[in-house]
C-alpha cells in the first residue's frame, strides 16, 4: 500500500521511474484493507461468525428474510403488539400508485412518461379501477423556470433522472390524492410509501394539505411501505413475525427520532396470518382508534397476500409496459417534428457486453 501512496504523491516521478520497465513484483497491494477507515472492517471470520444472512441482489431492493434474523429473538416483547380485528363497516378504500420512466432525451431536456392507477374496493371486493395515462412530460431549463419549487430542487431534476422521475410521480400522485381527499368522505385512502413530506411537492398539493382535507372529510390516510430504509425496524418486528394473526405495533418514537418530515402515526403492521410480511404503515387523520381503522381496512379490502389488494391493483394498473413505451415512441415520432438519432449504450461499448 505504501507503494501505491507513493505513486499518488509523485505521479510524474513514479511513472517515469516504473514506466515501460514496470514489473509485477514491484507493486504491492497487500495492505489495502489497512489503508481505509477502521469502520470498514475486513475481519470477516470474526464479524460474521454465528450470524444469519440474507444475500442481496443487484437488481432487487426489497429482500427480507423468510422467518427472522437470529438476533431478533432477544427483542421480542409480546405485549407491544395489538391484534387487528375485522370491523365489518362498509367503507370505500381507494389506492393510488404511479410509475414513471424517461422516454427520451433532447439537447435541452428530457421527456418522461407517467402512468397512474387508482383502484377502489369495498366489502372486500374490488369495485373499479382507473388507468390514467400514459402522460408525457418534458423537463428542460425552460420548463423548470416556471416551477413553483425551490430553484435548487428544480435545477436538481435537470441533472438527475431519478429525481426527475420522483418529481413527476410525487406531483401527479399528490394531485390525485388531493382530488380523492376532496371528493371522498368516510373513506380510506391508501398511498404507496410512507406519509413523508417531499421537497418535490407543491405548496397547494402537499401531503399535509391532503391530510387536512382527509381530516375535514373524515377520511383516513394510510401510507404503506413495502420496504423501509430504517434497518432498526426489522429488528423490532420479531414479535409481529411470530404473531399468528393480523397485528400491529406502534413505532412512533423510533420513526419520529429518525425522520422529522413524517406525518401521522407510525406502525409496523402484519395484515395477514403467520407468513405475511411486516409493513411500515403511517396513518393520518384517524379520529377513531387505530385498531378500528385497521380493522375497517382489513374488512373492506382484500389483504389475502398480506398487502392491500387495491394497492396491488393500482400498482399493476400503473406499471408502464414495454409495449406502451414502444407506442409512446411511435406516437412521438409520428405526431411531432422530431428526428430520431441513432444511439449507443456507452457503458456496454466501454465495458463490453458481459458487464452488468
Amino acid at each position: 500500500m505504501c507503494m501505491l501512496r507513493n505513486i499518488h504523491k509523485h505521479p510524474y516521478h513514479t511513472v517515469n521511474h516504473y514506466g515501460p520497465n514496470l514489473k509485477m513484483t514491484e507493486l504491492d497491494f497487500t495492505d489495502l484493507d489497512h489503508s481505509v477507515d477502521p469502520s470498514l472492517s475486513s475481519n470477516l471470520s470474526k464479524d460474521l461468525s454465528g450470524k444469519t444472512i440474507v444475500f442481496s441482489r443487484y437488481d432487487e431492493k426489497s429482500h427480507i428474510p423468510i422467518g427472522k434474523y437470529g438476533s431478533q429473538t432477544a427483542l421480542i416483547n409480546p405485549e407491544a403488539i395489538t391484534p387487528i380485528k375485522c370491523i365489518q363497516e362498509p367503507t370505500l378504500v381507494a389506492a393510488v400508485d404511479s410509475s414513471s420512466i424517461r422516454i427520451a432525451e433532447t439537447e435541452s431536456g428530457c421527456l418522461y412518461a407517467i402512468k397512474c392507477g387508482v383502484a377502489f374496493a369495498t366489502n372486500g371486493q374490488p369495485l373499479m379501477h382507473f388507468k390514467l395515462g400514459p402522460i408525457l412530460f418534458y423537463l428542460s431549463e425552460e420548463t423548470v423556470k416556471k416551477s413553483e419549487l425551490d430553484y435548487r430542487i428544480a435545477n436538481l431534476v435537470l441533472f438527475d433522472v431519478e429525481y426527475a422521475k420522483r418529481l413527476i410521480r410525487i406531483q401527479i400522485e399528490r394531485a390525485i390524492q388531493t382530488y380523492l381527499s376532496n371528493h371522498l368522505s368516510n373513506s380510506i385512502i391508501l398511498v404507496d410509501g410512507s406519509l413523508n413530506a417531499s421537497p418535490f411537492e407543491n405548496r397547494g398539493r402537499n401531503i399535509k394539505k391532503i391530510a387536512e382535507n382527509c381530516s375535514i372529510r373524515r377520511n383516513v390516510l394510510f401510507g404503506i411501505s413495502k420496504s423501509t430504509s430504517f434497518r432498526v425496524l426489522s429488528k423490532i418486528s420479531a414479535a409481529l413475525i411470530q404473531s399468528a394473526n393480523a397485528a400491529y405495533m406502534n413505532i412512533q418514537v423510533i420513526i419520529q427520532s429518525l425522520s422529522r418530515t413524517t406525518i401521522g402515526d407510525n406502525f409496523l403492521v402484519k395484515f395477514g396470518s403467520r407468513d405475511s410480511p411486516i409493513l411500515r404503515v403511517d396513518i393520518a387523520c384517524c379520529d377513531d382508534l387505530i385498531s378500528h381503522s385497521l380493522g375497517k381496512l382489513v374488512a373492506n379490502d382484500s389483504v389475502a397476500g398480506g398487502y392491500p389488494e387495491t394497492l396491488r391493483l393500482a400498482h399493476h394498473v400503473s406499471t408502464l409496459t414495454n409495449m406502451e413505451v414502444s407506442c409512446l415512441k411511435a406516437y412521438l415520432l409520428s405526431n411531432f417534428d422530431i428526428t430520431q438519432l441513432e444511439s449507443e449504450d456507452i457503458r456496454k461499448t466501454l465495458l463490453g457486453s458481459i458487464t452488468r
Binding site: 383502484a119 382507473f130 388507468k131 400514459p134 399493476h316 409496459t321 414495454n322 407506442c327 409512446l328
Partner: protein, 489 residues
C-alpha cells in the same frame, strides 16, 4: 404491410388489422429502388407475438377480470397498443419475380427492400397477365376468394391431363365435377361419368324441373335400363379382362374361355345363351368348368349383356354427334362385383374404340373412385390413358386409396378441405404445390372452396369459391330426421 424477414423461399410480412388479405391471396412486392417486383402467396397467418406482448395481454386480462376499468388516455396510446396486439405476421411463399419484360420468372437471387418496398394485393387477372395464363375454352368454376372476381380455368389445360378432385365428404367435390362436366359438354367435349350415387343425371334437369340446356346431350345408362351390351360388340379382349380383373378367373379357366369364345365366334353365334350352353357342355376338367359356370352365372345375372343378337349400347353412336355429349353410367344400385365389371368393360371398350380412332378423345369422370380403383388395371391404364385419348378425373374423399403411380401422373388437383393430417400428408407428398401451402391453406378452406393446383393455374395455387350449379345437384345425403321437420316429430 412490410417485409419483416426471409427464410429460404419464404418471406414473413408484418400487417396491421387494416390490411385486408387472406390466406391464399397473392401479393406484389414492388421494390422501387431496385425497380423489381416479386410475387408471393400467403400460406399462413399468425399473431405478432413476443413474450412481453403476451405478458401484457395476460396482465390486462387478469386486471380487467378483477375490476371494471376506466380509462383516461389523453394521448390515445391504448389505441396504438391495441393495434400492436392485433398485428399479424403473414407467412408467404415466393412464387416468382417479374423481369424487366413484365413476365414472371423464377429468379430469386434478390430480396426486396424492407424500407423501400410497397406491398399490395394482386388480383388473379393481374396474376394471369404476368404468367400469360390463357386458353380457348374457358370453364367458369367460381370466384376467387377475397376480390370476388370470376375465375376461369381452361378446358385446354384439362385436355389430355390426369386430374383429381379430392377433399373430405360433403365439401363440394361432386358439385365441382358437375360444373366441369357441364362446361366441357357445352364446349363440345365427350364425357363418360362413372356415377356411384345416381347424382349426375341431374345435369339434364334445371332447378325448376324443366329440362336443362344439356338435356339432349346427357345420356343416362344404368343396369336394366340402357346399360346393356352385346358380347360381340364388347369383344374378346374386353370380356376376358372382365373375367380376369373383375371376376378373378384363374389362368387355366381363362384358356378354356378363349377356346369357347373362338368356337362360338367361328359359328357366328356369340350371345349369352350360346355362351352359357357352351360352358355347361364343354369337354373340360370339372374344376375349370365349375369356375367358368360360376363366372357365367355372375355375367348372366349382372344384366349387362343382351340375351340375343340385340344392338345394345354403342359408344360410337353417342360420341359421333357434332355436339358434345355425356354418358352417365349409374352404378348406385349394383353390387360391387357388377360395378367392377361395368368399369372394366367400359374402359376396355373405350380404349378399343380410341385405339382404332372410332371415337374422338374423351373425358372420364370417376366418382368415388376409391371404391373401384384397383392396382392391377387402373394404374396400367392411367399411365397410358393420355396416349389412348382418355382424360381421367378421379373424384374421391380417400386420397390414400389412389396409388402413387397415379399421383405421379397428376397434372391438376382440385383440393377441398381436409382436416385429417394423414390425408394431408398423402396429398402434400405427391402434390404439385409445397407442403406448407397445402397443409395450411387446405385445413382452413370453407365449404365449397377449393385450392386449384397444377397446370390449369400455371402451377400457382389459387383458392376458388366454387360457383352454384344451375342444374339439379342430387346426391345429397338422405337424412332420417329431415323427413320430420315441420311435422311435429
Amino acid at each position: 404491410m412490410k417485409v419483416l424477414s426471409k427464410n429460404s423461399d419464404e418471406l414473413v410480412l408484418l400487417a396491421m388489422v387494416s390490411d385486408i388479405v387472406r390466406k391464399g391471396d397473392y401479393l406484389l412486392i414492388e421494390d422501387e429502388k431496385l425497380n423489381r417486383k416479386m410475387i408471393v402467396q400467403i400460406y399462413d397467418e399468425d399473431y405478432l407475438s413476443s413474450q412481453t406482448l403476451i405478458e401484457d395481454i395476460v396482465r390486462d386480462e387478469v386486471i380487467n377480470a378483477s375490476s371494471a376499468e376506466n380509462l383516461h388516455d389523453p394521448l390515445n396510446i391504448g389505441k396504438l397498443s391495441r393495434m400492436i396486439r392485433d398485428a399479424r405476421l403473414f407467412r408467404t411463399k415466393i412464387r416468382g419475380t417479374i423481369d424487366t419484360s413484365g413476365r414472371m420468372s423464377s429468379d430469386f437471387t434478390w430480396i426486396p427492400s424492407r424500407v423501400q418496398s410497397k406491398i399490395r394485393r394482386l388480383s388473379i387477372p393481374e396474376l394471369d397477365d404476368y404468367v400469360g395464363r390463357t386458353g380457348n375454352f374457358p370453364i367458369k368454376i367460381g370466384k376467387t376468394r377475397g376480390d370476388n372476381e370470376e375465375f376461369d380455368i381452361y378446358a385446354d389445360d384439362l385436355d389430355g391431363k390426369l386430374n383429381i378432385v379430392t377433399g373430405k365428404k360433403e365439401c363440394g367435390k361432386s358439385h365441382l365435377a358437375k360444373i366441369l362436366i357441364k362446361r366441357l359438354v357445352e364446349h363440345g367435349a365427350f364425357v363418360v361419368v362413372f356415377d356411384l350415387n345416381d347424382e349426375y343425371s341431374g345435369l339434364a334437369i334445371n332447378h325448376d324441373g324443366l329440362p336443362s340446356s344439356l338435356a339432349d346431350q346427357i345420356k343416362v345408362l344404368q343396369c336394366g335400363d340402357g346399360l346393356t351390351f352385346s358380347l360381340k360388340y364388347c369383344g374378346k379382349v374386353a370380356i376376358s379382362n372382365v373375367l380376369k380383373n373383375a371376376l378373378d378367373t384363374p389362368a387355366a379357366s381363362m384358356r378354356e374361355f378363349f377356346r369357347i369364345w373362338d368356337w362360338l365366334d367361328n359359328k357366328d353365334c356369340l350371345n349369352i345363351d350360346a355362351f352359357g350352353r357352351a360352358v355347361n357342355t364343354w369337354s373340360v376338367n370339372e374344376l375349370v368348368r365349375d369356375a367358368l359356370v360360376s363366372r357365367f352365372h355372375i355375367i348372366q345375372g349382372s344384366g349387362l349383356f343382351l340375351q340375343n343378337h340385340g344392338e345394345g349400347v354403342r359408344f360410337e353412336n353417342i360420341f359421333s354427334k357434332g355436339t358434345g355429349a355425356a354418358i352417365v353410367v349409374c352404378m348406385a344400385k349394383v353390387t360391387p362385383i357388377v360395378r367392377r365389371m361395368i368399369v372394366e368393360l367400359i374402359l376396355n371398350k373405350l380404349v378399343d374404340l380410341l385405339e382404332n380412332e372410332i371415337i374422338p378423345p374423351i373425358f372420364l369422370f370417376a366418382e368415388e373412385a376409391h371404391l373401384y380403383l384397383r392396382d392391377t388395371y387402373w394404374e396400367d391404364i392411367t399411365s397410358r390413358m393420355r396416349h389412348f385419348g382418355i382424360c381421367p378425373t378421379f373424384i374421391t374423399n380417400q386420397p390414400d386409396a389412389i396409388g402413387d403411380v397415379i399421383y405421379r401422373q397428376v397434372d391438376n388437383i382440385f383440393l377441398f378441405n381436409f382436416t385429417n393430417d394423414v390425408d394431408l400428408d398423402r396429398i402434400s407428398r405427391v402434390s404439385l404445390a409445397d407442403n406448407d401451402t397445402i397443409r395450411s391453406i387446405v385445413k382452413t378452406l370453407p365449404h365449397q372452396h377449393c385450392l386449384a393446383i397444377g397446370k390449369m393455374v400455371s402451377d400457382l395455387p389459387v383458392v376458388v369459391e366454387v360457383a352454384e350449379l344451375e342444374t339439379l345437384a342430387l346426391g345429397e345425403t338422405r337424412k332420417f330426421f329431415s323427413r320430420h321437420v315441420g311435422h311435429g316429430f
